[in-house]
Symmetry: C2
Subunit: 266 residues, 2 copies
DNA sequence: GTACCCCTGTGGTCTGACCACATGCGGTAC
DNA sequence: GTACCGCATGTGGTCAGACCACAGGGGTAC
């Protein structure tokens, strides 16, 4: 039995308190000084534990005074997953192709699941996942679970939209179906992967020979995917999504979908 | 533009150096004091950055002297992913049911991909993934890519094997196919999920009414999966795996997720 | 040649201090 | 009574310096 380091003891204590429900989402942890005295360690050790919590997306810290200051319990699993993936890609041990292949795997699953849920009427509500609050979801809900996706699609089809704006809407479009699929972990992981390979995607876009043509094709594919989901056709949604993503990465020069195609997942 | 905090600057600097290949796998970072002076910050800030790297599975730290001491660059993405998932489950924002569903998703993909790769003869080598070294893989290689899986299967079928040993072999059995599938990120994520819900699985096993009967069924299912992979039958491997995992969680009372969360976190 | 011991460098931890910041209270001017 | 202003307060952020335990390696005594 090895002796725990001090910051590990602090982390374990906080984790246990979290599991016991000591703090709800949005509530504040005690101050670093108070926490240090409570556990009987130095403030530096508490800070190291808080750093890990922050990197994992469990808390966010802010200076100052008032209810928004201090270490607030949040829920951003994507932050932690994305950080870990990004660092491993940077260290060179994790190939980008594996990251892309994993993204394809998750996205195709999410799209198929979303279609099945639309058909079965089991679409989660807007706030069903709790106060995730990663971004304002202020779309006007016309009653359809696909209203958000349709709005993003319309924004992507506006004339004169920049490639950066297009990519951002594109990613939100994909993420919207992950939300509909109703698995928070998959949604978070997709968001994390997106952050980890965002730089590579942007670089790939800059190398595209003809962006207007590419974006037009992407718009057509998006609409086909949306209609497949709306029709509840899971297999079609999955196939279209796989072709959509692999086609983009192939055109952008990021080989990664090839292996997946050969695997015949679909 | 917000000003980066000091430990974030340190982390960004180290990440850039990692991406530039300043340190290879197994090499040591400069000492904390040297790093602090090099970047022009205090040692405390360097330590906070190192904590994040350590939690992400990028480095491991050790005291003392010699080549093994200090912050050594490693490659354990599962550590970071598992930590983040585990903390979010502890905070109550991430339902165990989502974690289980994600595990099913990844495992069925890996099993299908493994089958396709076996058929195509594209099985990665033993050390293809680099010095991950999560566990000794000392099986005698008889030339078949499934030798490791067969050995684990044989160990699970030995008379008198304890339930804990069985579960450990079971998880290694599943992980073996993730390795064959050749996606390091999927393999790492499966390992991380396993760590995050390991305690819940152990508890579920203890509640099983009849372990000998259950384990006998699991052995039969394992053998069927192995043969499907060996035959290169991806769809069959995927179907058998899904039934295998979902059947186990259902029998262990974890299918609902909600009930299980109450049992584990209450 | 061997066994021992101390020197050195590592991370681990603590203490105490100061800073920047955001809030909210209380005083003040009108 | 109201509106405004400024400082007290508590927060995280950062730093400097110190001491400790630990593991290795080289020098020394035999």
């Amino acid at each position: 039995m090895t002796v725990m380091r001090t910051h590990e003891r602090v982390l374990a204590q906080i984790e246990a308190d979290l599991a016991a429900g000591r703090w709800a989402l949005g509530e504040r942890l005690p101050g670093e000084r108070a926490l240090a005295e409570e556990i009987g360690v130095s403030r530096a050790s508490v800070r190291e534990a808080v750093r890990i919590l922050e990197a994992a997306g469990i808390v966010r810290t802010a200076v100052g005074s008032g209810p928004t200051a201090g270490a607030v319990v949040i829920d951003r699993p994507a932050a932690g997953l994305g950080t870990a993936v990004r660092l491993h890609v940077a260290s060179g041990a994790l190939p980008v192709s594996d990251v892309v292949a994993t993204r394809v795997l998750l996205e195709t699953w999410a799209m198929r699941e979303a279609a099945e849920r639309v058909r079965g009427g089991r679409v989660p509500g807007e706030v069903g996942g709790g106060a995730r609050g990663d971004r304002a979801r202020d779309r006007a809900d016309d009653g359809s679970p696909l209203a958000g996706a349709r709005r993003l699609l319309a924004e992507m089809e506006e004339p004169g939209v920049s490639s950066l704006d297009f990519i951002a809407r594109d990613q939100d479009f994909h993420l919207e179906f992950a939300r509909i699929a109703g698995n928070q972990l998959v949604e978070a992981f997709m968001l994390g992967l997106r952050g980890a390979i965002g730089a590579y995607v942007a670089e790939g876009v800059s190398r595209l020979p003809d962006w207007p043509t590419t974006s037009a094709r992407l718009r057509t594919e998006h609409r086909a995917i949306l209609e497949a989901v709306a029709a509840g056709d899971g297999p079609a949604a999955e196939r279209l999504t796989r072709e959509h993503i692999e086609g983009f990465y192939a055109e952008a020069g990021l080989a990664g979908g090839t292996k997946f195609t050969e695997a015949g997942c679909g």
